[in-house]
């Protein structure tokens, strides 16, 4: 319960929403509301509902190889979208379906998961391994950043008093590409104690592009770029997958918390990375 909440606004435009936000420093944007409704913070005094700004469009532009998803699109709507289901062998829809439960995904929005992501966010590693750009509106200007780079920087500062408009995902063209998502949690719909996403492109017999991101480390998702660089040029064999998994476990910045110890996370990364790489190996072998 937000004890000090006094106002709830329904702005009709991005500019109106930002002006309301500028007027009251203790105002918060709301879309799905799943996190704010559970909060007992005394800070928010005003809520600014951005769910009526027309930011819920979802479009697959096959010609230009771009998938754009508006920020207030419900996560379950993304999961159910036929175009999304066709992306990377179902990677995006199947991965997003791992988030929470059906009612949580019905209420939660993609943008809401990105503007103030929890450290255990599944969305951040999933979108980080794709060529994802995030577009946000700040002080009258539309700005675009590469998503994985944004979360490696001071994203809270960058997105403060900004409204996320959506994400744009460039789809791999003419490459043999596959991606996998692995999650470890205490129950089917509990938040992740560790999550890992991986995407590889293969040209001929060798890996031409690699991305691997680990979340709930217990910190927010981060790419393991040293591993990505090492994988490029390699042939994807069982031995390479095994070595890469060991490398990932050593290179990732991991920690311990009340869910898992650092050492347990390290062992899990090894297991999950190897599984993801071997699953990808099978998929690209079937495609070629």
């Amino acid at each position: 319960m937000l004890k000090n909440l006094k106002e709830y606004h329904y702005p009709g435009s991005l500019d109106e929403a930002l002006s309301l936000s500028d007027r009251e420093s203790r105002s918060f944007f709301i879309a799905g509301g799943t996190a704010l409704a559970l909060s007992d913070s005394s800070r928010p005094v005003e809520l600014i509902d951005v769910s009526r700004l027309g930011l819920d469009e979802l479009e697959l532009d096959k010609e230009n190889g771009k998938l754009t998803i508006g920020a207030t699109t419900k996560i379950q709507k993304v999961v159910e979208n036929k175009s999304v289901q066709s992306v990377l062998g179902g990677f995006l829809s199947e991965s997003l379906e791992e988030i929470g439960s059906y009612p949580v995904r019905n209420a939660g929005t993609l943008g809401g998961s990105l503007v103030r992501p929890f450290p255990w966010s599944d969305v951040v590693p999933i979108l980080s391994v794709l060529e994802t750009e995030i577009t946000y509106y700040h002080k009258g200007d539309e700005k675009t950043r590469e998503l994985s780079k944004l979360y490696e920087s001071d994203f809270r500062g960058t997105l403060n008093r900004s409204i996320i408009e959506g994400v744009s995902i460039s789809l791999p063209e003419g490459l043999n590409t596959a991606a996998k998502f692995k999650k470890f949690s205490r129950s089917e719909f509990d938040v992740a104690a560790l999550n890992l996403a991986c995407k590889l492109s293969v040209e001929g017999n060798n890996i031409s592009e690699a991305r691997l991101s680990i979340g709930a480390r217990p910190m927010i998702g981060e790419r393991v770029t040293d591993l990505e660089d090492n994988l490029v040029g390699e042939k994807l064999t069982e031995k390479v997958a095994e070595d890469a998994a060991v490398f990932a476990a050593d290179a990732a910045d991991l920690g311990g918390d009340n869910k898992l110890s650092k050492e347990y996370r390290k062992q899990l990364v090894k297991k999950m990375a190897e599984e993801a790489l071997m699953d990808i190996k099978k998929e690209v072998a079937n495609e070629s």
Binding site: Y8, A37, K74, N106
Partner: protein, 158 residues
């Protein structure tokens, strides 16, 4: 503040506090099928349909319902709902009964969009509902029975 939405088929205006949770408003309005359980979005006892989608009303502000259509079990009176209620009772899926309105909403939402769900799809649809009595077996059977019955009647096989 004033919010207006359709509750169980009737458009109504409500005077709510800005931070009021939808669960509280619905119970104050007499919709006692909407149970107060965990209040953290985990147990599904407060499940309602918002624009036809199952959501936990404890994780929504009443203000978010403005302009929408909200349905609780009190407003589910069509053939599908009646069949589900009957199947749940016949299967012995109702024990203490606390979770049942939420289960009913989830099942109704599932069968409204998928007339022939697999057992896996039924389980997935119930993954936001906690039941500490039945172990879900009877509930899953009841939902399957309803799907067979409704599907059977729609293609003349009943």
């Amino acid at each position: 503040m004033k919010v207006e939405f359709e509750l169980n088929g009737e458009v109504k205006e409500f005077d709510v506090d800005s931070g009021e949770i939808l669960l509280d408003l619905l119970r104050d309005e007499g919709c006692k099928s909407v149970k107060r359980g965990c209040e953290t979005g985990d147990c599904g006892a407060c499940m309602v349909l918002v624009d036809g989608r199952a959501m936990t009303s404890c994780t929504l502000f009443a203000a978010q319902a403005d302009g929408k259509e909200v349905r609780t079990v009190e407003g589910l009176e069509d053939e599908l709902a009646e069949q589900l209620k009957e199947s749940l009772l016949e299967a012995g899926a109702v024990q203490c009964g606390f979770c049942i309105p939420g289960v009913l909403i989830s099942a109704y939402s599932l069968l409204s969009r998928n007339e022939e769900p697999t057992k896996g799809e039924i389980k997935a649809a119930l993954d936001g509902n906690l039941c500490r009595c039945t172990g879900y077996v009877k509930q899953i059977e009841a939902i399957k029975e309803t799907a067979d019955s409704i599907g059977g009647s729609s293609n003349g096989q009943k």
